[in-house]
């Protein structure tokens, strides 16, 4: 362990709160929801102990949380919040509003099933259904990665003036205790420059935001949002690289695990990656040429990186812990679109595995891989368990 980091035993939620604390946001509107609540409680405890200098706002709903986040960011301050599931869905209108206002808010979302019926299990449909709202989306697999990603997300978001969402799976990540290296404040301060956006709400230099725009202005505004999104994969890679120089930890934009010479590659996101690593190890042990590609940055999808990573691969197996009715697994369909028209043409098998929080063990993934080897790739995602 390096001298500028301290080992602590933290849950994913606590690691998120530590990441937020170290990033020094000045305004934190937040509303409790299972399984995100410990993030809120940890932040209010930090504040009560005098170690977190932020205006914490506790409104009546997640809708008001995001409504408060946007103008606070427009004043020129760093803003943090956290939510899950229904809370994220309640924010939907404001998610679009935040990216339109070019406010680099960072929000942790604990991926939880979407009602109805009520359920509290890990499932990424909540955030994946927000993929068109103009937010950068990260998916993390551990408490350590959650802490690191909250800080990296600010670095990227503030360069492109887009909001960023850090997604962690309910319970598997949010509530599991793990040893986490918590960097010193000075290290994070040296990594994150002060937030100073070019336009602000300021009585000394009067500007307004939100006034009605013409078709042409709106068109150009969306174009500038697209240009900002296009810059994200390379900036995210750079942010990760610079973080690694300070902490010796890198997570990549996508991560290739044991992909050398692989003919079969599993592609997934979030906590499923940890399980898939074990399955890959077991299959490699048995002599199969198999690897894992972890998609850490999902929005914008790092298309060039994925094409490169999957070039020369025969079979791609996508594990989706989400379901878009009438569409299938979101990552499956996104990956098919990303590879279409390129020289990279593996067979892509989409498996709806773990939807609703159903347990997917390493042995189960081995089983899926063996089944896929004997079947044709279907255009539709397949229900498996």
């Amino acid at each position: 362990m390096s001298a500028n980091q301290k080992a602590m035993l933290l849950t994913g939620n606590q690691a998120v709160a530590w990441g937020a604390r170290l990033a020094r946001p000045r305004v934190v509107p937040v509303y409790p929801i299972t399984p995100q609540t410990p993030v809120l409680e940890q932040l209010t405890e930090f504040q009560a102990a005098g170690t977190f200098d932020a205006e914490i706002i506790t409104p009546e709903s997640e809708h008001s949380v995001m409504s408060a986040c946007i103008p606070a960011s427009l004043v020129g301050l760093r803003v943090f919040t956290a939510t899950a599931s229904q809370g994220l869905l309640l924010m939907h209108e404001l998610l679009h509003y935040a990216s339109g206002a070019r406010t680099p808010i960072v929000m942790a979302n604990v991926n939880r099933t979407v009602a109805s019926p009520w359920a509290f299990w890990p499932d990424q449909t909540d955030s994946l259904s927000q993929r068109d709202t103009g937010w950068i989306q990260y998916y993390v697999e551990s408490a350590q990665e959650a802490l690191d990603t909250v800080i990296q997300a600010y670095r990227v978001a503030e360069q492109v003036l887009l909001p960023a969402m850090v997604n962690l799976d309910a319970f598997y990540v949010s509530h599991s205790l793990e040893p986490v290296l918590v960097p010193e404040q000075q290290l994070v301060d040296s990594y994150l420059p002060a937030f100073d956006p070019p336009h602000k709400l300021d009585t000394d230099q009067v500007e307004a935001w939100g006034n009605v725009a013409t078709q042409d202005m709106y068109y150009r505004h969306r174009q500038s949002l697209a240009e900002a999104m296009e810059r994200v994969p390379s900036l995210a890679a750079q942010a990760d690289h610079e973080w690694a120089q300070l902490t010796q930890r890198s997570h990549g934009v996508i991560e290739r695990y044991r992909c050398d010479g692989a003919k079969t590659v599993i592609v997934t996101m979030g906590s499923m990656c940890g399980t898939a690593r074990d399955a890959v190890d077991a299959l490699r042990e048995a002599g199969q040429a198999i690897g894992l590609v972890k998609v850490r940055l999902f929005r914008p999808l790092p298309t060039a990186g994925l094409r490169e990573a999957l070039s020369g691969v025969d079979e791609v197996i996508v594990l989706d812990r989400n379901y878009s009715p009438g569409h299938g697994g979101v990552l499956h369909q996104e990956l098919r679109a990303a590879l279409y028209g390129s020289a990279v043409t593996p067979r892509i098998h989409g498996l709806l595995a773990g939807v609703g929080g159903v347990n997917v063990s390493p042995a189960k993934i081995v089983e899926f891989v063996n089944q896929v080897a004997r079947s044709e790739a279907q255009s539709d995602s397949q229900w498996v368990r």
Binding site: R26, V27, S64, A68, P71, G76, Y97, V212, A213
Partner: protein
């Protein structure tokens, strides 16, 4: 206190804005903004005021404006206020200029929440008693019997009493005001400025188009509303100290109704019902004022 002449000279609302001819919304906002002064930021949700505030790249207001979603003004004002506090800009006032739809209806949840937390801003409800920006449909502020696009035969329920509801949150200041009684309006803005916490002032805004009022009759309509007791001018401090500002009720409601096409062809029995409702509301208000005076002057 600012004088009316001063408001005309030091206008914080520029000419050339997009309000209808004779608009009381624009007139009221001009005076409110001048009374607030330049060290102010405004939150303006979708409403007539958002149109008056101007399309990009223009802004009719000489202060920073943030236009939030329709239902989130008080939450947005909270975020703005706390961010200014975090920056040490405690002297900058945050105001909301919202319509009645954005206040009584869709924005009510977050307004109640902000008032419960006693967030530090002044909330002006520019109450034109309906969704006038979408062509005059009813809101929960629309009075009994008024015809709107969604109540073509007349509204069947009564106007929500926002002032009493907000006073029940025990916020420091809730008041009604009207451009028809301009010195009283300006005094209330100045008074609210000296206070801290959630302050809510509801301004009655006769709407030329939505109410069917002649272009030059806006102020007369506003005055008749007060004189008939349909819109009493009063203040409630800390949820219980009542002050009635216009103490007499000198006009039958029929005078007020006759100025407005939204009450056209009203049956005389309905006019009697409305008169009885206003009389009852006026009597209740008198009782509350008397109780408050007894308690505080005892």
């Amino acid at each position: 206190m600012i004088q009316i002449e001063q408001a005309n000279q030091e206008a914080m609302l520029c000419s050339g804005h997009a309000a209808c001819p004779g608009c009381i919304d624009a007139l009221s906002a001009r005076h409110v903004l001048t009374a607030m002064g330049p060290n102010t930021m405004a939150v303006i949700p979708p409403s007539c005021m958002a149109i008056i505030a101007g399309p990009q790249p223009y802004s009719s207001l000489k202060i920073p404006v943030y236009q939030p979603t329709l239902e989130s003004s008080a939450a947005a004002a909270t975020g703005l206020r706390r961010a200014l506090d975090a920056k040490g800009k405690h002297d900058t006032q945050v105001i909301v200029l919202a319509g009645d739809g954005g206040t009584y209806d869709i924005g009510f949840q977050c307004l109640s929440s902000a008032a419960e937390r006693n967030e530090d801003f002044i909330y002006f409800c520019l109450d034109n008693e309906g969704y006038m920006n979408t062509g005059a449909q009813k809101s929960s502020s629309t009075p009994h019997f008024a015809r709107t696009g969604s109540t073509p035969a007349g509204k069947t329920s009564r106007k929500k009493n926002l002032t009493e509801i907000m006073a029940a949150h025990r916020v420091p200041y809730v008041a009604t005001a009207s451009a028809g009684h301009l010195p009283d309006l300006l005094r209330k803005v100045e008074k609210a400025k000296t206070m801290q916490g959630t302050r809510i002032i509801t301004l009655l805004i006769p709407c030329m188009d939505g109410w069917g009022v002649a272009d030059d009759a806006g102020l007369m309509t506003a005055r008749y509303a007060v004189e008939s007791g349909a819109f009493p001018l009063y203040e409630i401090e800390d949820g219980h100290r009542y002050t009635l500002n216009h103490t007499s009720k000198t006009r039958p409601v029929a005078d007020y109704l006759a100025l407005q096409r939204r009450y056209r062809n009203m049956a005389s029995v309905d006019i009697e019902t409305l008169q009885a409702e206003i009389d009852e509301g006026w009597a209740t208000l008198q009782e509350r004022v008397a109780t408050s005076e007894r308690k505080h002057h005892a």
